[in-house]
């Protein structure tokens, strides 16, 4: 128990390391050298040192709220509570970002907020379905029970496959980085954040990495080694997908999610419920 609390407190550091490793992996995939692994922390220190330029207080507060709510959802996960509550806190975190982004007059920011809502429409129903699948296999919503049950991937292979394609939507990776789109709407919801407030949003993203990959780890169930293997596989798969594909229209993202991924997960859950 106490280990998990320490783990949850150290989550931003771990997330930063994962982000640094990801940048190196991505650079190596493109035949580059890549930045040092500690690069996200250098960015963090630099952003803390910049002059705080605030648009208005609500906007800055919502940036910090995004970070706090993400961290809170991670605490819910790590302290062995309900998975469903963690999912809802994640919704709250993303909503904070949306409210902050739509409260400024910059059109890029508002457009980014609307696209972020499209992201939410695509992945949140799936997240709830996935948690229902966890419940059907392990008989409980609590993390401790899920980590005691048999490996979930044997019973939920289609959900696992669909989750592999949901990860790029949640982390805003290339086929579905509609909201971030750093060439067209430069960063989307985070465009107006700067200095320490941007740092809050930046760190919130590191925590989102941990959040997503912890769900991936849960698929391993009792078998922790299998869980770690799944996480590493998902990490490389998502990076490969990010490097190999171009950005899609947001309509295609929503269609792909609602016509393909969610029915796939629903099919798996229906079959599981019938044959249980």
């Amino acid at each position: 128990m106490i280990n998990w609390i320490i783990f949850a407190f150290l989550a931003p550091i771990l997330g930063g390391l994962i982000y640094g490793i990801e940048r190196v992996v991505k650079a190596r995939m493109q035949g580059r050298m890549g930045p040092p692994v500690m690069q996200p922390f250098y960015d963090f220190a630099k952003l803390m040192d910049k002059r705080p330029l605030m648009i208005h207080s609500l906007h800055a507060l919502m940036g910090i709220m995004y970070f706090v709510a993400e961290w809170f959802s991670l605490f819910v996960l790590f302290l062995g509570h309900d998975v469903l509550i963690a999912v809802f806190f994640h919704v709250l975190a993303v909503l904070a970002l949306v409210i902050g982004a739509s409260s400024v007059r910059s059109p890029y920011s508002v457009l980014g907020a609307l696209r972020e809502l499209m992201h939410m429409i695509s992945y949140e129903p799936f997240m709830v379905l996935m948690v229902v699948g966890f419940y059907l296999v392990s008989g409980s919503f609590s993390i401790n029970d899920i980590l005691q049950s048999e490996p979930l991937i044997y019973k939920l292979p289609l959900v696992f496959m669909a989750f592999l394609f949901i990860i790029p939507m949640m982390l805003q990776k290339s086929p579905f980085d509609v909201a971030e789109a750093h060439q067209e709407i430069i960063g989307g919801p985070e465009i107006e954040y700067s200095g320490p407030f941007y740092e809050a949003v930046y760190t919130g993203k590191w925590i989102e990495y941990i959040y997503v990959f912890f769900f991936m780890f849960l698929f391993g169930g009792r078998n922790y080694i299998l869980g770690v293997i799944l996480v590493i596989f998902a990490f490389f798969f998502v990076n490969l997908l990010d490097n190999a594909t171009a950005r899609l229209d947001f309509r295609k993202m929503v269609k792909f999610s609602w016509i393909f991924l969610i029915p796939l997960a629903a099919l798996n859950i229906i079959l599981l419920a019938l044959w249980r």
């Binding site: 580059r32 250098y42 630099k46 910049k50 002059r51 960063g187 465009i191 700067s194 200095g195």
Partner: protein, 163 residues
């Protein structure tokens, strides 16, 4: 120098703006980002956003249409910031000098810290310029720069309150 300022030199984020040049310099900048030279090794990222950038990399002669945008980008960058002017056109207009539509160089609009000569400068020259800019950037302190003669500087840049 605080604890955080020591790490400042390790992550320079670049904002690149072309004020009406011929794209020669921009190709060199992209070459610097590409695998052969790869300035992301030093933590440099090409951010398209002035609010998150540290180094303003300007190329091209400043045309009259671009003048206001350039000034605005400069003012929107938060305070420890450096301006790098790249290429002959950015120095004094280059072959566009004294044309009717040109402001003759970046220095006539915003203060410049580092100059990179050449037409177009080689990527090595660009990296040298960035390294020098990082050194200047490290000596700057955010408080001094934005508190001292705040109103006068804004007056000199010709910015009116446009809300």
């Amino acid at each position: 120098m605080g604890i955080f300022s020591k790490f400042r030199k390790k992550s320079p984020w670049i904002l690149h703006y072309n004020t009406g040049g011929c794209n020669g310099c921009d190709i060199e900048i992209l070459a610097a980002l590409a695998p052969k030279y790869d300035i992301e090794r030093f933590g440099a990222l090409n951010k398209g956003n002035p609010k998150q950038a540290d180094i303003l990399l300007v190329t091209g002669p400043v045309t009259k249409n671009c003048k206001d945008v350039l000034r605005r980008l400069y003012l929107e960058m938060p305070e420890p910031k450096v301006v790098v002017a790249m290429g002959a056109c950015a120095h004094g207009g280059g072959i566009f000098r004294n044309f009717y539509h040109v402001e003759n160089g970046v220095d006539n609009v915003i203060p410049v810290d580092v100059w990179i000569p050449g037409c177009a400068p080689r990527v090595e020259a660009l990296i040298d310029g960035i390294v020098e800019a990082i050194e200047i950037w490290q000596q700057k302190s955010k408080e001094k720069e934005y508190m001292r003669n705040h109103e006068e500087n804004y007056e000199r840049l010709g910015v009116k309150d446009d809300n």
